[in-house]
Symmetry: C2
Subunit: 233 residues, 2 copies
């Protein structure tokens, strides 16, 4: 029997959420990982999530099916093209086509349901407001408001048996800082996938989408080689 407090960790299988998983464990939490099959065009990330869970000896990992393709509106859940070779300094001007409407709101809502049933009050999410590619639901004010909502929405919040906290250990870090933090925590970044448009058969990353470019620049800033392969880097 563990006596560690439980935490729900949103785990996409990307670089950021792998780092968050390690951070939550290093803070002493018993991690319950939560991933989503949400209609994303590629499932490479979910394969990585499963490998991360095995490596980090996580007790519980749930994968929830939610079909966001029924709504559409994003390059990640439809046939809209993913931008390639966009200059990094243009990424934070405007919200890109890879934005998935209300995705983090939906993911956090499921994490809240899971946490409430587990009697957990701590939810970890790897949002980042520095290299954040302009997503509205990665901003600190969004997270703070979701935390307030969590404490109003739930039986546990109303009965004051605990106070929900949304942990965002990466929110103010650059990509290089995130990688440094993860390496210090022993994260094996070969078990992560960040690409918005990986090869559908091999899962190899493109090296040209916004996410690949930010990741590659992060490793370059740290002075380390990225351990994953790229079609073009």
């Amino acid at each position: 029997m563990t006596t560690r407090p439980k935490a729900v960790v949103l785990l996409s299988g990307g670089l950021d959420s792998a780092t968050v998983l390690a951070a939550a464990q290093s803070e002493g939490y018993d991690v319950h990982a939560l991933s989503f099959r949400y209609g994303q065009r590629h499932l490479t990330e979910l394969r990585m999530a499963a490998r991360l869970v095995a490596r980090h000896d996580v007790a519980n990992h749930k994968i929830i099916d939610i079909d966001l393709r029924q709504f559409g509106g994003s390059a990640l859940t439809s046939d809209l093209p993913v931008p390639q070779d966009r200059p990094i300094n243009e990424m934070s001007s405007g919200i890109p086509i890879t934005y998935v409407p209300a995705r983090n709101t939906i993911f956090l809502s499921f994490a809240l349901a899971h946490a409430e049933v587990l009697s957990a009050f701590d939810i970890f999410i790897g949002v980042n407001a520095v290299d954040y590619s302009g997503y509205p639901d990665c901003r600190p004010e969004f997270i703070a408001t979701f935390e307030a909502l969590a404490n109003l929405a739930t039986k546990a919040g109303v009965e004051k048996t605990g106070r929900f906290r949304i942990h965002t250990p990466l929110i103010s870090l650059t990509k290089a800082d995130i990688i440094r933090k993860g390496l210090a925590l022993g994260v094996d970044y070969s078990l992560t996938s960040t690409c918005y448009a990986p090869d559908s058969e091999t899962g190899v990353s493109c090296g040209q989408c916004d996410a690949c470019q930010l990741r590659l620049r992060g490793f370059a800033d740290v002075g380390q080689a990225d351990p994953i392969a790229y079609r073009k880097a």
Copy 2:
């Protein structure tokens, strides 16, 4: 081509959401109805939702599959028994076992995603804080906080192309007031199901759960016969 503003209406197929659907139409909205197959033990409500959509000539009705049974924790999504014959004056003391963790947060998150893709800014939900059986996610402060979240979470909210509003036309009405309002709007309550534990084959309502009792008292207060059948009433 309609020029009416679009609204997303959360439609369970119960008495309350049927009334909300009619209210949204009477306010001039082009209704996009949204229902969930969330692992509830009975699907009678969804059959009613489909009949309501047909009767009210709603352009679009989506049914989203989300399996909240993976989390459990509620009599509505597991084998826990639904309370029967509880005195009505005891219903608002404490949060009942029929509470589904974070359900309205999840439902509103999907409604927000749907609205954002439709370029709709109006979301209707039939929550009620009078005869509300003690659910935390039916309170005005929960709704106000979700509305704030919606305007932070989304591209549309950030770019100020519009302001999301969560409409709760029933929130301060008694069950009798809701029924009066619905009857005035032409709602056919024979096309609704409210019961937490209807007969699994016939869909007939039990007449003894909290929801049936509140509904029956509402019709009695209005001085009308409830048009649906009950096993025991």
